[in-house]
Symmetry: C5
Subunit: 356 residues, 5 copies
């Protein structure tokens, strides 16, 4: 549940950067493409970014890591990113959103990654879509975008023929696709938990169901504003996003809608599993109670009878009767059988009702 | 819960097909109809599809099975289906939706089928409604559409006199009708489960209630976007769908609304059944506890008394009193009866409160 | 939960009638009224319906029972009812709705009736409002409309001076009034159940609460679309319904809104009752456990002590001590009292905490 | 839960009055005010109401009690109140609403009063706002409006300078203020119940929580339409209500919104308390079970051992061993201590886990 | 839950002030700023406020404490604040809202502060935004605004160059930032509670979970109208708020949205924890029951056997058999082992099912 919040101190002025703790120093990759070619290189010197773009070319500036404030301010100066926009790009976690700025359309997106210890990390990516360039700020490098970069380099599909808006779409679509493995992992875990909940003999089951519930809560919490954001991109006319790209985004919108509906299902099933586990635990207690009641109810009166004739009174005529002992044993037997029959009649032993 | 997702690898370019595993190779059926006649045949050679339609005739191209990418691309080329549309038709599962494409209106629909093992399958059908033809892509052949095909062949009703939009309506209406048997089966199962939950002696009851809850969750998950889709078709003016057909679709819209309301009721009842089962299990534990308490509370003190006089102390004057034994027996009797009366007074045995 | 659905076989063409099983053959009553007079008679020959209405007169054709397809088709032919509208009138159950047809405004309404066995029946009434006539199709004859017919015959109130729209309003208002007794019956049952749930000693209580929950679910399921329908009638300008009648319908709209809010309350209270019953059952188990624990915890150690001195070892010096027996009895007494004091201290007996 | 409904018999014509049972005969108070003076008197003869109002004066006709149909009809005739409006004023309970009538704006409001027996009564007040007069119909006299009347008489504030709309606002605001004490009383009761629920030793706690839940349900049921109504008054331009008065009504709107949010909180807390009580009851059962298990598990085996050597077999060599008795006692002691240690290790006694 | 409401007596006229109990006497601070300078001083004499502002300067009047009605009326007279607005500023608690008044835009905001005893206080701040001045009314002095005052004095950022609307934004943003520590504290408490709930051996856990639920309920109750308010400020064009400031407010809007989503998550997790605790308590009862059942079921029959041969009948032939005693001991052993095997087979001891 704990969430890390790198907001600057309360009351500080807008435009203050709060670098996320542990974020590596920025590594900047530049892809310049035109319909015919694409060039991909690491930027060592920020001055490279100031060189004018060749006619008919577009640029993708991928900033990986946010660990150096000076570099970030420099990049934002070169491309004319307003301070408020840079603040939102850097001060994670932000809520997913679309915001218009002069010269750029800013899209903040977050995606879930399932860590080995079961925690869900939700790294943030910020897209600044300009008329001829796209700038992405990644909290740290996750390799999400390598497949898209490859497609751009290889010139497959329409990507090179289109501008930064299409590239932004392709990256956002990739990012949304990363929700699927998380949903699938949670779904698989729930399937496993279902059997365990019905067996109800492993006390860890509850802990694990609770963990999944928390994971699903995180997924829904970040997914909900994400869906809003993509719906907005897909439906409202916004600067720097062409009509054709909006058609593609409607597809992405359907994917995130589908993911959120799966998230709702997961939540409902996880809540149901808690109930199943609770009921099953009660049911097993019930089963055990039955045995205890059976044993105790039968033997306690019999033991009492035996206790009677274990007393040492001087005058107990029965003790001297010839067949008293076997008669008592028979009586005990009858009482025991009688109670068994009564319990069976009440449906406490056997499967009386099921036989109907 | 497990859901199969045949989406192409993350980051692949839009328009990539991911043939669902196990989908049979496409079998294409062509129906060409005019107000006077209808001809229905299996297409062996895709070239047949390229022949121009006779004046005043319409065509229904039914693609059953998606197992051959080349065939699908060829069909889409012949009818001018955009790659993104074909991707949505093939890459199951998609969320139900309506999407305009140049030359076609695409409708994605999913329907539930209850398998023998209790799983709900949700095969997908894609409709491409053009001005003079309708193309349907079925994940595999389920025979859903045979009755409509028969009506078209027999010329009953207004079907032959109308265009592809009416045919699409008739097929969609048929498809929505397939929700009813699933709802009815779940409703019947819940009726059975109700008795079992109130009997509360079969540990499988809980498993079965949970299964129904999951089935209802799946039904609602696919039905919700389906309802949206049909509402959109019935109310918004869309290309290739006539006003008269929209009137018919309003009827279908009412059916899916009714189904979804039944789904909500089913869900509520299933949740209620879990509670009923839990309460009943607790109640039965309570009943059993009462017997145990009764037996133990009565006999434990009596056994203790017997134990006292079973001790072997040398100096126990009572042991030598003439009527000590019968007196003790009477005392025990009085104590036992006294406790029974007390328990009855507390309402733990008998039906004291009900008699009021 | 089981619901009967008389829809025609899947895939049949629109306009197919599915007569509800057990629906009696139609009995047609005709009321012809003008401001001055009203004539009410049973129609034996359908040809009567074809006679032209006198100038300034209006007609109400009440079709009771749907058991003869030919008659229904004939009526619909005479008044120009489209097949799709007739289908909706006959193929019960439909969702409540308002639908415009050429020449008629169709209103489908359903009302709840509480049967003796606790089931809620939801018979359907279809109103076809024309410019000079009103046609009603009742699934079977329930006598709902007799009071309105009487008012029409007696010429009380403004009814005779108004047209078919006012009559339709009066009938719909009557129909909505029939929701009240059902809500009241459920409310009364819940009041009774409250006491039973708090007593928690009747195992049937749970079954009865569950029944009410199901009844309330049915009520809400049919009431929700009914409210939508009446709201639509009261607020949107529709053909064949005058502005003055819309004012009256707003009143009906308030009634159904009030009913639905009562339905929501009933649902919430019924859910609460389940919890009350569960808690009370647990609480009583707790009470019983306390007694068991008390008895067992006190007497089990004492019995053990007695068992010690019941052993037959040759060398047990205490057995020969003069006052060992009374000393042991005193010890036992002290131990027993000590445990009672401890239990009281823990708050397990008496009402320690309440005295604070 | 039981609600009284004084609607006229089903099927009766609109405009029929159903006097609420027990409503006292109407007592009519008339206040005539102008900016300079206010005159307040009881109306003995209805003819007084027909006298024309002096120029620049306004009138408030306060009808307290609805117990005489003739008087009500006469009042409605004098002021031109339509029958449907009078019906809504008299036939309680109505849902809170705003309705335009020719010459009047009708506002129906209900307020909660907490009776001594814990029931919530919801008396109804109907306001008929005309251009120069305000008529109020109160089910019975509660004294709600006395403070406002006093202000009018004393000429404090802007009240005398304004018309009937401002007076209506002042009365409605007073009425909404009467929600606060009910919310506060319920809130206080919940605070008390919280302690009781955590103590979990008073079986009445559950009954009381359930009562509060029902009271909160009633509060929310009447408050919800009330909020709608006041929002409508405050935001939509309606006849007979000036723009300046609408500004004041926005304040009232905020109050009822705040009340409804408190109502939602109360509901959530009450639901939470039920769970707390349930859990606490279970927890205490658990505590008691531990003691029982401890006692039984320790002494049952020991008693068995003692039972062994209480047997009367002729050949039991141990009985004749010199130190058998003390050895057995030591063995018993070791077994008992061993079990205590084991239970402590399992965390069943002491506070093992808490010490971590 | 208890909430303090300082509204004036019911029925009092609008514009009546109800000073919150314990509110200190007002201390007024005045900041006058222009792009070049800012002067901050405490106002000792209210006449200072009447001096005209120098050209190009703006003023911030910060009223801390509401304990003197005369001062408040005087301030409102000087700046032309309408009585209704002053009433809303003083009569706490108000619901967060935005209200237009002639010459001012009023913003009411509330923020949560977590007291040491776990209570959430929700002090209220009222902003009156005028064309050249900003007036803030604080219930008491919390020091929230000191950082902003410092920035204004130091001339950092754009603050001095902007007008009262930007200052109001900066203060509101600071105020919303004060939600974060509360959310974080609740989140941390829930993380701690999670472990305790899973250990389920501390009866206080439930009390603490319930406290967090109540705290979260308060947070959501005040946060919900706050979010509405800020959304309204950020999106609707309102007087005295510039377009540029609206852009900044959209950022604040995102923060409060994020806080509310965290609040929803907290609520869901807290509800889940109650269930976890309940289930865990049941589970532990179950574990303890198993031991009791095991001990009792094994030893009760054995003790009965021993009891049989402890009877003192004269004629019990077994007692005289040579090897009867060892044979009985062996029999007892076999019975005990048999029951252990049976219990293991039923899965009541060991981890049978988990080994699968």
């Amino acid at each position: 549940m704990s969430f890390t919040n790198f907001r600057p101190p309360v009351g500080s002025r807008p435009g203050t950067l709060a670098i996320p703790e542990g974020s590596p120093p920025p590594e900047i990759h530049l892809v310049v493409w035109s319909p015919d070619a694409a060039e991909d290189r690491r930027v060592e010197d920020l001055a490279e970014l100031e060189r004018p773009l060749p006619e008919g070319s577009f640029a993708w500036v991928d900033v990986r890591g946010l660990g150096d404030e000076a570099v970030l301010w420099e990049v934002s100066r070169i491309f004319g990113i307003p301070p408020l926009a840079l603040e939102d790009a850097v001060n994670v976690p932000q809520r997913a959103k679309v915001q218009e700025h002069p010269g750029h359309l800013q899209v903040i997106a977050r995606l879930p990654t399932l860590e080995e210890d079961g925690a869900i990390q939700t790294p943030q990516v910020c897209f600044m879509i300009g008329p001829r360039h796209l700038i992405t700020f990644q909290e740290r490098y996750f390799g999400f975008f390598d497949a898209v970069r490859q497609r751009l380099r290889d010139g497959l599909g329409p990507m090179r023929k289109k501008g930064p808006d299409y590239l932004a779409y392709a990256l956002i679509d990739t990012l949304i696709d990363h929700y699927y493995p998380v949903v699938e992992a949670l779904s698989d875990e729930l399937t496993t938990l279902e059997e365990d909940a019905l067996a109800a003999d492993d006390p860890d089951t509850l802990t694990r169901i609770h963990l999944v519930r928390r994971q699903v809560a995180v997924l829904r919490r970040i997914g909900h504003p994400q869906r809003e954001t993509i719906g907005q991109l897909a439906r409202s006319p916004l600067p720097h996003v062409g009509d054709d790209v909006r058609t593609y985004l409607r597809d992405t919108d359907n994917h995130i809608a589908q993911i959120m509906e799966l998230g709702d299902s997961l939540r409902e099933i996880a809540v149901g599993l808690t109930e199943v586990f609770m009921t099953q635990v009660s049911h097993r207690t019930n089963e055990i109670m039955k045995v205890l009641t059976l044993m105790a109810s039968i033997f306690i009166p019999l033991t009492f009878m035996a206790g009677i004739y274990g007393m040492n009174f001087e005058y107990m005529p029965e003790l001297h009767v010839r067949y008293a002992y076997p008669l008592l044993i028979i009586t005990m037997f009858v009482v025991g059988i009688g109670m068994l029959v009564y319990f069976r009649h009440r449906g406490w032993i056997g499967r009386r009702r099921r036989d109907r």
